[in-house]
Symmetry: none
Subunit: 131 residues, 4 copies
DNA sequence: GTGGTCTAGACCACT
DNA sequence: GTGGTCTAGACCACC
């Protein structure tokens, strides 16, 4: 798995790592039980401190995306992530609202916003889904 | 305009204000040239620090949402916000990507994600658009 | 609130802090909305690193015992902690099992173990409960 | 004797083994002088490292639960474990305190905590005790 | 002054 | 070699 990090971003590094791993899981590039690099090796690969990687892993663990074994290292959670409940859906809408509002203010049409959305969604298209 | 702020949120207060004003503009509850409360009055209304409101306004001004006149006060930008360019669209997709990925990981279908998206989009429906 | 920490203990310092705060809440010495010392002040009071205190606070936050405001600091959660569900009860029994087994092996009678238990429980007796 | 180990647990493997053997003794499923499997066979049965089993046995030996003979192998200590002294009782209360506090914070009543405690205690009920 | 993030470097427990 | 814990010290964002 490749990481592209922006060290200048306002979004903290550990958060960028979290997001990329979640994207990897959603794209099924990372499958259940697949091992992730160790805290130390990933840190030195990226050229950051091991604590930063650890913080990302801890958050992923807390949200159910991965399992952390003391010696075996880190793996994608074999049973997947807790499914979305209605509370989560509400949070998601809450998150979407200002993003969509910004697009509308910048004169994007409803259609072009919906298109952008579909484009992103397509990135996650899987063979199974097409069948 | 009413503000509902969450002081426990990880999202800073000034950012919540910015978002709500942008949402207000997108919903056309706030129209071009419409005056916004002064920094002082808004701060005391909400019960927060002057600096916080000021920071929100400065950001809105910097992004072209509002104009700040020394005497006349603060108004919604009469000419609207700079339109979206392709760079902005890319940023928007970048923002959407981890959000959508998270939903997919939580086992939401492409359809139900698209539905949620449409629901939010509908909140911004305007009479003009329906005609 | 006073902290008595054992720096030689196998139980990590941050965990000892967590436990003492939970005990404080259970004894109602710490009431909802009551402020806790800042990360820095508690760290320097105890004579440990601020990260250690922070780790304790983060865990308490994650388990719903406290709220962490970016500027206002840390307070006991105003609405209390998520109530015990049946899963938690099972975990609790799981935790208790080896502890009780050890006592029995050391020839404590069922009665004396039950007595010890009651003694601890009494430490948490509250005026309201006695009325 | 059957072992059920949780390799994902925060509790180390060797400690889980120790606890289960202590529980076995408390339930009198393991009687004084009863032989335990050798380090080698237990390790290969469970599919774990020799060192892990050895560490568990060493701890049990050190606390007086078992005897390790070079030739005869491992047996449950024929004379039982050193009886509880007042220091031990204090340690036990110390251990119990945060566990009980957590239950109380989660809104369990004194009664329901005592009930849970009794349930666990009953698991160790023996015929002799009932007579 | 508050917590949040990041770095650097050390020691330990577990397998 | 793995993650867990702790320290020390720095800079930033928020209010």
């Amino acid at each position: 798995m490749l990481f592209s990090l922006d060290f200048e971003s306002k979004d903290p590094i550990y958060s960028q790592i979290v997001k990329q791993i979640i994207i990897g899981i959603a794209k099924r590039e990372l499958r259940p039980n697949e091992p992730l690099p160790s805290v130390r090796s990933l840190a030195s690969d990226i050229g950051i401190n091991l604590h930063t990687v650890n913080k990302a892993y801890q958050q992923l663990k807390q949200e159910g995306y991965i399992l952390i074994h003391r010696q075996k290292g880190v793996v994608i959670h074999p049973e997947g992530v807790p499914k979305a409940d209605s509370e989560y859906k509400e949070t998601l809408k809450q998150t979407l609202r200002p993003i969509i509002a910004e697009g509308l203010c910048k004169d994007l049409s409803h259609e072009s916003i919906a298109d952008l959305y579909q484009e992103v969604l397509k990135e996650f298209q899987r063979e199974e889904d097409i069948k």
